[in-house]
């Protein structure tokens, strides 16, 4: 009996030890994150989709990055200099940078990456207009030689949002810019696990053990990218109610963008905390179709802008004033080029002025077609507000409801509304994309090359061009203000309020950095 008891005790002890050891060996911290949408395309240069950009920040690195003060700082670059005539830019990479396949990052790789990005991204295309050639000086150093000075070199290379100039191996970067590549090798803080990832279910990333973070503390997208979890899983979970339930039950750790109406459910649970990870937030836009009547007439566009006001939109869509801001700055309040000059027209409705302008312009009462998206919750209520305000300002409005995919298809049509076209619709942008006249696509006024609505205004293009060539910050700011005033003068489009969407995390998850993009380095998860 004693023998049996002793043997049993030993067996239990051995089992417990084995379990402990195996537990230690297998213990790894997995951060489970739900993004605002499904990740389908994995080439961040090919698409501007934000989920793909976020995937890019996990596996790729950038030459420069924007810090929390929106200043551009070197990231993969160790040192850089510019010649006195501002034509030759020389960049030297940090020591020890390595691709996930173990090969060193070279100057040739970076040149090829910039060239591919320069064929797709608006800021990249603009930069390449000024680039005469790239030269690889040695394995770690390359030069960008310009035809004439350009004021936005660093802003372009440190562009935070889509399309971000991510660096990738030359063999991948040489893929046709209009084809998606199928190999996902970067030099960033995480390594993509294609074999474990299942589109529609989850995407898996492991900590890159060879990644060398910068020595500086993390700040925005810049500084040391120190990874404190072993594994990140981007879980695909389209239903927001399921996301909230899963976070409350501890099955996931982070929701990037829970809907505003479910925030009270989350704040009521002490195991969940909200995180204002994107202090710049987003901005709502009202976009007119300049190529069909009646918004081909600037007076009628101005009449519409006089009729609207930001507060009504923000109340109807976001509701809680804690999460929105009335702001007249096209380039976002609190940023270097943010100014509210001339924007009173967007802040307070003036229906009498709107009616007077319509009369002056000879508006014949033809109903304008307003497209309403019913599938993006944050946009759904914008169109009914527009309908109400424009009608009070003397317009007749035909609001047509449709899903977002139908809207994005229809907005490409330049036909009149009677032939399937449109007059006005709403969208929104991440504020980080809107902080200067070059990255903010809504300011392009080059006809067919403009964003949907196709405004044509040579004066606006001249101002944008002057801005891009200017290298003095004070003069840049003055030009940005002129750009804003010009857009308001011609009624090019309207920026109708800033809003913020906090993320939600489990209480045991800490270190979520404030940046325009959700990033997962620096995050710690206690308790595995």
């Amino acid at each position: 009996m004693t023998f049996v008891s002793t043997a049993l005790r030993r067996a239990v002890a051995a089992g417990a030890l084995a379990a402990l050891m195996s537990g230690t060996a297998l213990a790894q911290t997995t951060l489970r994150v739900v993004q605002h949408g499904n990740l389908t395309v994995l080439d961040p240069i090919w698409t501007t989709a934000y989920v793909t950009r976020n995937h890019g920040y996990l596996i790729y690195d950038t030459l420069f990055a924007t810090d929390a003060k929106l200043e551009v700082k070197p990231q993969m670059v160790d040192t850089w200099k510019v010649s006195d005539d501002k034509l030759v830019w020389t960049f030297t990479l940090r020591d020890g940078l390595e691709w996930h396949d173990g090969k060193p990052v070279t100057a040739e790789d970076c040149i090829a990456s910039l060239q591919r990005w320069g064929k797709r991204d608006a800021m990249g295309i603009k930069l390449m207009d000024f680039v005469k050639e790239f030269k690889a000086v040695d394995a770690k150093t390359f030069q960008m030689i310009l035809k004439e000075p350009y004021g936005l070199v660093l802003d372009s290379l440190g562009k935070p949002s889509s399309n971000t100039p991510f660096m990738m191996p030359k063999r991948i970067a040489e893929t046709d810019a209009f084809q998606q590549f199928k190999e996902y090798v970067g030099s960033g803080p995480f390594i993509y696990q294609a074999n474990e990832s299942k589109p529609g279910e989850k995407h898996v990333y492991l900590k890159n053990p060879k990644y060398k973070p910068r020595a500086e503390p993390p700040s925005g997208l810049a500084g040391g990218k120190v990874v404190k979890v072993d594994r990140v899983e981007l879980v695909e979970m389209p239903d927001t109610q399921v996301q909230v339930n899963a976070l409350l039950a501890g099955e996931i750790d982070i929701i990037e963008a829970p809907p505003h109406d479910l925030l009270p459910v989350l704040t009521a649970d002490k195991n969940v905390a909200l995180e204002d990870w994107n202090p710049l937030g987003h901005v709502f836009i009202i976009r007119f179709n300049h190529v069909v009547k009646p918004f081909d007439n600037p007076k009628i566009r101005l009449a519409a802008l006089y009729a609207i006001n930001q507060e009504d939109y923000l109340k109807a869509t976001i509701g809680n004033p804690k999460y929105y801001k009335v702001c007249g700055a096209a380039f976002i309040c609190g940023t270097p080029f943010g100014t509210e000059k001339g924007s009173e027209i967007l802040v307070k409705s003036n229906f009498e002025k709107s009616k007077a302008l319509l009369k002056e312009a000879g508006y014949d009462g033809t109903p304008i077609v307003l497209m309403q998206s019913t599938t993006l919750p944050v946009l759904t209520n914008t169109a009914p507000v527009t309908k109400s305000l424009l009608e009070r300002g003397g317009f007749k409005v035909d609001m047509q409801s449709m899903d977002w995919q139908t809207l994005v298809t229809r907005r490409t049509k330049k036909d009149p509304p009677s032939a399937g076209g449109w007059n006005v619709f709403h969208t929104y942008s991440v504020s980080a994309d809107a902080v200067n006249p070059i990255s903010n696509a809504y300011f392009v006024a080059a006809g067919d090359k403009s964003w949907f609505g196709w405004p044509t205004d040579p004066e606006m293009e001249k101002l944008r061009d002057m801005f891009s060539r200017e290298t003095e910050p004070a003069k840049q700011k003055a030009l940005a203000e002129k750009v804003q005033l010009r857009a308001l003068e011609t009624g090019q489009f309207g920026w109708i309020g800033q809003w913020y969407g906090p993320g939600a995390r489990r209480a045991n998850v800490t270190g979520w950095l404030q940046a325009p993009i959700p990033v997962f380095w620096n995050i710690e998860k206690k308790g595995g």
């Binding site: 039950a249 599938t375 995919q405």
Partner: protein
């Protein structure tokens, strides 16, 4: 029998052809452009046009159909616009969760619904009958997603007994698989139990009025034997028909249930593909559903001859 099966299989060809043409045309005529979705919100018209050209969506409709159909006949089901995987690969990845969910639901439903229906028939007009019929009406009336969210709230959030969402493959362990199948299976089974128990009850009540049942009782057979061996077996044909229709209806139910429980099955693949206008995926998934529908009906027809020897093909 084999001639019958062959005839039925041959008859499916025009049905599938019709479905293929119908779905192809419907998708092309529905507003929505996959190129615009792929390009992202900041893309310009030129970028959208370039992607459209790459995907071949700028070709005339007939050319697009010819290319798709001839590829399909040669076994090439195409590639998803978004996932950059072949449609066959995507379906293979997603079929297991849906099959497992359907299987668990059918087993659960049949094992609950038939005894309930028989019990209600045996106690016709009594409180058991009223409760079963009450449940049946409720099961029909309450939408699947409401039942799903209710079960999640009670069993996953309030009591923390079961996971809120997700799926684990059988190969990852029976316990993990079973834990994540309980709530979705019960959710999807509710309407199925309501349907089958109601039909079972009606069918058994009708059979219980037959002369041979009276004869069986008169010769002294126990009530249980009369009910299960004589009444239920003879009531089986309508019950099997309804189960078959129910299995086909599961396809629709699975789409909702997979969304509520975040199960990466064919149902969610369909929803994602429709929202993104991923034409190659939608076309093949609907064809797969059609083939499943046809095959289920064939199996039901064959089951008739097993249950009722008078039926011969």
């Amino acid at each position: 029998m084999f001639a019958f099966i062959a005839r039925r299989l041959v008859a499916t060809i025009p049905v599938l052809l019709f479905v293929a043409v119908f779905v192809f045309m419907l998708l092309r005529l529905t507003p929505g452009d996959p190129a615009a979705v792929i390009a992202g919100d900041n893309a310009t018209s030129d970028q959208v046009d370039a992607i459209r050209a790459k995907l071949g969506l700028d070709e005339p409709l007939l050319t697009q159909f010819y290319i798709w159909f001839s590829r399909m006949l040669s076994g090439d089901f195409g590639e998803s616009f978004f996932f950059k995987k072949t449609v066959a690969e995507l379906i293979t990845q997603r079929i297991e969760p849906t099959l497992m969910l359907s299987l668990c639901t059918i087993v659960l439903s049949v094992s609950i619904a038939i005894p309930l229906g028989v019990w209600a028939a045996a106690r016709q007009g009594g409180w058991v009958d009223r409760i079963v019929m009450g449940f049946s009406v409720m099961g029909f009336s309450v939408p699947t997603f409401v039942i799903g969210y209710l079960l999640i709230y009670i069993f996953a959030i309030q009591f923390s007994w079961l996971p809120v969402q997700g799926y684990r493959r059988l190969s990852e362990g029976l316990d993990e698989f079973a834990l994540r199948m309980i709530l979705p299976s019960f959710t999807l089974a509710t309407i199925f139990v309501a349907l089958v128990s109601r039909i079972t009850r009606a069918s058994v009540i009708e059979t219980l009025g037959e002369d041979y049942i009276r004869t069986a009782r008169a010769k002294g057979l126990p009530a249980r034997t009369v009910l299960l061996r004589h009444a239920l077996r003879n009531a089986a044909v309508p019950i099997v028909t309804v189960i078959g229709i129910g299995i086909a209806a599961l396809i629709g139910g699975a789409i909702i249930t997979e969304s509520v429980y975040n199960i990466p099955g064919i149902g969610r693949l369909t929803v994602d593909a429709v929202l993104a206008r991923d034409f190659p995926v939608i076309q093949i998934v609907i064809l797969v559903f059609s083939v499943a529908y046809v095959l289920i009906n064939l199996v039901i027809d064959l089951a008739y001859s097993v249950l009722d020897p008078r039926i011969r093909y």
